[in-house]
């Protein structure tokens, strides 16, 4: 029998269902890996060992009694700490929600549980998902299993590190402006942001409501397809949930003959590191070798995506985070004893620097006198950005380019410079603003100061073409061996 960490979720679920491997053994292996690696990673904010063991035993009993195993029967999973599982602390990486235990379970979490998944813990993240490095977590940064001195990316940092280190085969993150695709690229994982509305946001703590989308990490593309088939589909408790059921994976061969792959020149900007450029160009050549036709396309408004994103996302964040006032849940500071003083003191004491910065910016772009010039204008530019994509997709089936302009950077390297940190999102935010599906898959490595660091290829498709994007990613994965490379720190 292969060791636990060598199997992906698809293989594990199949072995559990066939009785070839015990769910209780798998759970113990996951918890043992967590206990061994966590001191170096800081990937988890909550570990659910007792709960996971009880659930594993229950799943074994159910199977023995003849129940039909679910699609994720006995698969250990980790959830980002902004996801609601009734009674389990979901602190969003923030002191303001330290100890907060949601009284209800998110729809997508319930669907995971119903499919037989075993939740082993809640993962570290940039506070309220605001950040690209984990350095904005109130509970210390997560370390990249490829090089512990570097960031795993963010904001879904702990989920990425947990999968890349072999603690779990599958984890959920949330992607607002790249918070799953970028850490997937930096940790050599497959990470998929579905079409906006594909996965219900009921039970996902809100950051930028018109952008947020629950998104899985895995070590294989087929696991992303499996995860999506479980968590996607309409939910009446989210009014932005798409009406149709989960997409069905496309299984039509190992080649991409006839596929038109758009290559936006704007996705190969000056700031791209040499290693990322070389790996991305080699990946495009691989796609051509698989039969795809490469077509140059233009997305002329791309350079406006960063300011548009940071106006829209901070506006929505300032509104969403108004609820943290020390009244109904979370931390409270008395302040000067008045109600207003209590609000202001609570928020001052318990929000971190980046969250405050974004609340202030968001308040500014929405305030009387500035609304039309900033927020109103950004929404119009958002239309133009989406139009760029619509025009490109008249000529091509998918778009391809790098996911992140650089490989994993050192913790501390950009922490003092918010503008530099925002600019590193240039390749992921355009797709987010347009609500499109996009995946990051491993596409190569770069050597930086003697350390081997992974690079990710981003593939994006038109709205609702989730299955197509994943099929292209799976073909690419089959033709290369990057995804099979493991981090130096691996279970």
């Amino acid at each position: 029998m292969k060791p636990y960490a060598e199997l992906d979720a698809t293989a594990l679920a199949a072995e559990h269902a066939a009785g070839a491997r015990r769910v209780t053994d798998t759970t113990e292996a996951a918890l043992a890996a967590l206990a061994r690696l966590e001191p170096r990673l800081n990937a988890f904010l909550v570990v659910l060992a007792d709960r996971a063991r009880a659930r594993a035993a229950e799943l074994e009993r159910e199977r023995a009694a003849g129940a039909t195993p679910g699609a994720l029967h006995g698969v250990p999973v980790a959830l980002k700490a902004n996801m609601c599982l009734a009674g389990v602390e979901a602190n969003c990486g923030s002191r303001i929600l330290a100890g907060y235990k949601p009284p209800y379970t998110a729809t997508f979490v319930q669907r995971l549980l119903d499919a037989g998944a075993v939740v082993i813990g809640m993962t570290n993240m940039d506070e309220f998902a605001m950040g690209s490095s984990s350095e904005n977590s109130a509970f210390g940064p997560t370390h990249n299993p490829w090089d512990l001195a570097r960031t795993p990316g963010g904001s879904s940092s702990g989920s990425a590190a947990a999968v890349a280190s072999g603690i779990v085969p599958l984890a959920l993150g949330s992607d607002t402006g790249g918070s799953v695709r970028q850490p997937a690229a930096l940790c050599n994982l497959a990470g998929f942001k579905p079409t906006y509305g594909r996965v219900s946001r009921y039970g996902l703590v809100a950051f930028g409501s018109s952008l947020d989308q629950v998104s899985p990490f895995a070590r294989s593309v087929r696991d992303l397809e499996l995860a999506l088939s479980v968590i996607a589909g309409h939910d009446e408790r989210d009014s932005t949930s798409l009406p149709e059921p989960a997409p069905i994976p496309e299984h039509d061969g190992a080649r991409l003959d006839g596929l038109r792959v758009g290559v936006p020149k704007e996705y190969f900007p000056e700031v791209l590191s040499g290693g990322v450029r070389r790996a991305s160009e080699a990946a495009l050549a691989t796609l051509r070798g698989l039969g795809a036709e490469l077509v140059p396309v233009a997305l002329p408004h791309t350079e406006l995506a960063i300011p548009t994103y940071y106006v829209v996302a901070t506006a929505e964040a300032s509104s969403n985070l108004a609820r943290y006032d020390g009244v109904r849940y979370g931390a409270r500071s008395a302040g000067d004893g008045s109600l207003q003083g209590m609000y202001a003191a609570t928020r001052a004491a318990a929000f971190g620097a980046e969250v405050k910065r974004r609340i202030l910016l968001g308040t500014y772009v929405l305030s009387a006198g500035y609304y039309d010039a900033w927020y109103g204008r950004a929404l119009k530019v958002r239309t133009l950005l989406r139009r760029d994509f619509e025009q490109a997709f008249e000529q091509v089936d998918v778009l391809a380019g790098p996911t992140s302009p650089t490989a994993a950077f050192r913790l501390g390297e950009k922490a003092g410079d918010p503008v530099a940190m925002y600019l590193s999102d240039i390749l992921t935010v355009p797709v987010s603003l347009a609500g499109l599906p996009a995946v990051s898959v491993p596409c190569g490595f770069v050597d930086e100061d003697g350390t081997r660091l992974p690079i990710g290829l981003q593939l994006a498709g038109p709205a609702r073409a989730d299955a197509r994007v994943l099929r292209v990613a799976r073909c690419f994965e089959s033709a290369t061996d990057f995804a099979r490379q493991r981090a130096p720190l691996f279970a």
């Binding site: 509305g197 406006l304 849940y329 979370g330 910065r357 609340i359 204008r377 239309t383």
Partner: protein, 99 residues
């Protein structure tokens, strides 16, 4: 950073119910100026006649049947309250409070 940047940050902090100390306000004012300078590229583009896009799903007027259904129990809703008083959230006195 200018005096008006600092005033703007203080005004936004007031609106956002955030208490900032002097050092924080100054730091944010400097960053605000740099961030907004970068955002000014938005101003260069003509957007007259362009419809705003506020959501990506393209759905509108989603409703459900106006029928009662179970919600959170009082106990569940109050379980995380920092200051619970019987079946209520406790807050500082606002009416008749000493100013």
């Amino acid at each position: 950073m200018t005096t008006s940047d600092l005033d703007t940050v203080r005004q936004m902090a007031e609106l956002a119910r955030l208490k900032l100390d002097e050092a924080e306000a100054r730091a944010y004012a400097g960053q605000f100026a740099r961030i907004l300078e970068h955002f000014r590229t938005l101003e260069r583009l003509p957007v007259e006649g362009v419809e705003p896009l506020s959501g990506a799903a393209g759905l509108c007027d989603v409703t459900r049947a106006d029928a009662p259904r179970p919600g959170l129990s009082t106990e569940a809703a109050l379980a995380n309250a920092p200051d619970r008083r019987e079946a209520f959230y406790g807050v500082p006195k606002t009416i008749g409070a000493a100013e």
